[in-house]
C-alpha cells in the first residue's frame, strides 16, 4: 500500500481549509480542515446528520442549489479554490464528478446519459465514431459494456438499480474528472449489487481520487485506504483505514466504530 500513498506535496486531490457552512442560521460545518490525497479511496464516516453529505456537496458546489447556503473558508481541488467567487461552477463540476445515493440517470437513453456532460461543453460536433468510442470506453471502465452494448438506445431508467448506479459513474468519466464524490452510493442496492459496485470503485482507484460517504463500517474497512471520522460538523479523526479500525486515536471514534452511538 505504501506506493499508493503519493507524496503529500505532489498529490492533494482536495484541500479543505477552515471551511464553515450555514444552512440559513443553522451552522452545519465548523472549521473543517482536511487533506484528501490523490489517487486513493477515502471514506467519510460519522453518525447521521454530522455533515458528511454537506461537506461532500460543497466540493462540487452543488450545495449552492439551495439559495440560503453561506460558506466561509476555502476548498481547493487540484490547487484551485473552488469556493472562490471567480471560480466557474461549471468547470469545477467537470473536474469533480458526483454519484448520488439513489441512482439518478436522466430520463434519456443509456448512450445519451454517457454523452450528456461532453455534449454540454463541446460546441464542436463529435463524429459518430468518436461518440461511440467515448460511450464504449466509459461503459467498459465501469464493467457495464457487455451487459448493455445491445441496448444503448433504450431508456436508462429501465436498467436495474445496480446497472443504473454504474451508469451514473460511467457518465462522469468522459470529461476526465480528477475527483469522484460518492454519497452512500450503495445504500439503495442489495448486498450482491453493493459488492459489485464496491468492486468497481476499487477498480477505479488510482485513476481517480475517490471520496466516499458510507454508513457501512464493513464497507469503509474493506474498500478504503484512508478514513475520515466526522462528528457534529467537525472532523474528529483522519487516519489510515486499518489504523482507525484497529487503534482509533480518539475515544469518540472508537465509540462510533464499535456502534456505541448511532
Amino acid at each position: 500500500m505504501a506506493e499508493t500513498h503519493p507524496e503529500p506535496a505532489a498529490g492533494l486531490a482536495v484541500a479543505v481549509r477552515r471551511f464553515n457552512l450555514w444552512y440559513g442560521d443553522f451552522q452545519a460545518l465548523f472549521d473543517v480542515d482536511l487533506d484528501i490525497e490523490a489517487g486513493i479511496v477515502t471514506a467519510l464516516i460519522g453518525p447521521s446528520g454530522c455533515g458528511k453529505s454537506t461537506l461532500l456537496r460543497s466540493c462540487n458546489r452543488i450545495v449552492e442549489r439551495l439559495g440560503y447556503v453561506r460558506t466561509a473558508g476555502s476548498i481547493e481541488v487540484l490547487g484551485h479554490d473552488v469556493q472562490h467567487p471567480s471560480a466557474s461552477r461549471i468547470q469545477v463540476r467537470r473536474q469533480v464528478g458526483m454519484v448520488f445515493q439513489r441512482p439518478n440517470p436522466l430520463p434519456i437513453s443509456i448512450r445519451d446519459n454517457v454523452l450528456f456532460s461532453q455534449q454540454l461543453h463541446d460546441r464542436r460536433r463529435w463524429s459518430r465514431s468518436d461518440q461511440d468510442a467515448v460511450v464504449e470506453r466509459s461503459l467498459r471502465e465501469v464493467l457495464l459494456w457487455d451487459r448493455v452494448k445491445d441496448r444503448l438506445h433504450e431508456r436508462a431508467v429501465g436498467l436495474s438499480l445496480e446497472e443504473q448506479q454504474k451508469l451514473c459513474i460511467a457518465r462522469l468519466l468522459p470529461t476526465k474528472p480528477a475527483v469522484l464524490l460518492m454519497d452512500e452510493p450503495c445504500s439503495a442496492l442489495d448486498p450482491a449489487a453493493t459488492a459489485a459496485v464496491e468492486e468497481l470503485i476499487w477498480n477505479l482507484r488510482g485513476r481517480y481520487s475517490i471520496l466516499i460517504v458510507t454508513h457501512n463500517m464493513a464497507q469503509a474497512r474493506r474498500a478504503s485506504d484512508r478514513c475520515v471520522f466526522m462528528l457534529m460538523g467537525r472532523v474528529v479523526e483522519h487516519a489510515d483505514t486499518e489504523q482507525m479500525f484497529v487503534a482509533p486515536a480518539r475515544q469518540e471514534t472508537a465509540d462510533y466504530i464499535e456502534g456505541r452511538f448511532g
Binding site: M98, F100, N104, L106, P107, F116, S117, L120, C168
Partner: protein
Amino acid sequence: MVPAPGSHQGLDRLDGAWWRDWAARVLVSLGGISAILFIVAIIVFIASQGLEFAWNRLSWAELLTGARWEPTANPPRYGAWPLLAGTAWITAVAMLVAVPLSFAAAIYIGEFATGSRREWLKVTIETLAAIPSVVWGVIGLQVLNPLIQQWFDTPVGLNVLNAGVILGLMAAPIMTTLAEDALKAVPDTYREAAEALGATRWQVIWRVVLPHARPGLSASVLLGIGRAFGETIAVLMASGHRLLPPTSVFDSAATITATIAAELGEAAVDSDHYQVLFVLGLVLFAITFSINLLADGLVRGRRRRA
C-alpha cells in the same frame, strides 16, 4: 390458546365505518356521474335544436366550405368558411402571443423565482385569469384599436391582430399555470443530476426539464387553443366582426362563437337560421372536445410511460 378455524368473529359484520364508506362512495360517484349527465344533456339539447334542419335541408359541404354567410338573404346562404377561417386565424395569432408569454412566465416562476416573489407572481397570474372577458373586449376596443391604427397605419384597428392579441393575453394565465404544473412535475433529482454534470441553469432547462415536460406543455397549449376557440364576447368586440375570410392579420374577421352570439337573438326560433346556428355550436363542440381529448391523452400517455 389457538382459536379453532372458522371461529373468528366479526369478519362479515357491516359496521358504521363500512356504511360511511359506502355512503361516501355513492355520493362521490353521483357527483362524477352527474357531470357526465350534464354534458350528455347539453349535447342532446344542442343537437335537438339543430338536427331537423341538419338532417333534411343542410348541405354540409356548403356549411364547411361555402364562402358566403348570408343567413338573411333570399335565398339564404349558409357557408361558414369565413367563420371557420376567422376562428383559425385569430386562434393562431392568439397562440403566437400566448405560447412564448406563458412558457417564459412558467419557466421564470418554476425554475428561477423563489420565495415570496414566486408566490406573489402566482397570485397575480391567477388574478389575471379572473378578469371578465368583457373587460378584455373593452381593452381591445379602446386601447389596442387606436394603437393598431397608429402603429400600422390601418383604417380600422378592430381585426385579426387585435382579437388575437386579446385572446392570447386571455389564454396566457391559465396556460402559464398549466405549464408551470408540467415543469413542477419534473423530478428535482433530474435537475440536480444535470447540474452536477456541469450543466448551466439554462442547459438544465433546455435539455432536461423542457423535454421531460413536453407532454404537459403540449397539453397546456391545447387547452389554451380550446380557450381561444370558445371565447366569444371579447372577440366579438375586438375582431371587427366582418363576415369574410381574412387574408391578413389586418383584416377584420368573424368567429363561430361571435356569430352565434350576435345572430341567435335575431333569428326566429326553429327557423333555418336559428337551427344552423346550433349546428355551428355542435361543430364548435366537436372541435373543442377533440382538442381536450388530445390534451388529456398526452398527459395520460406520459404518466403511463413514466
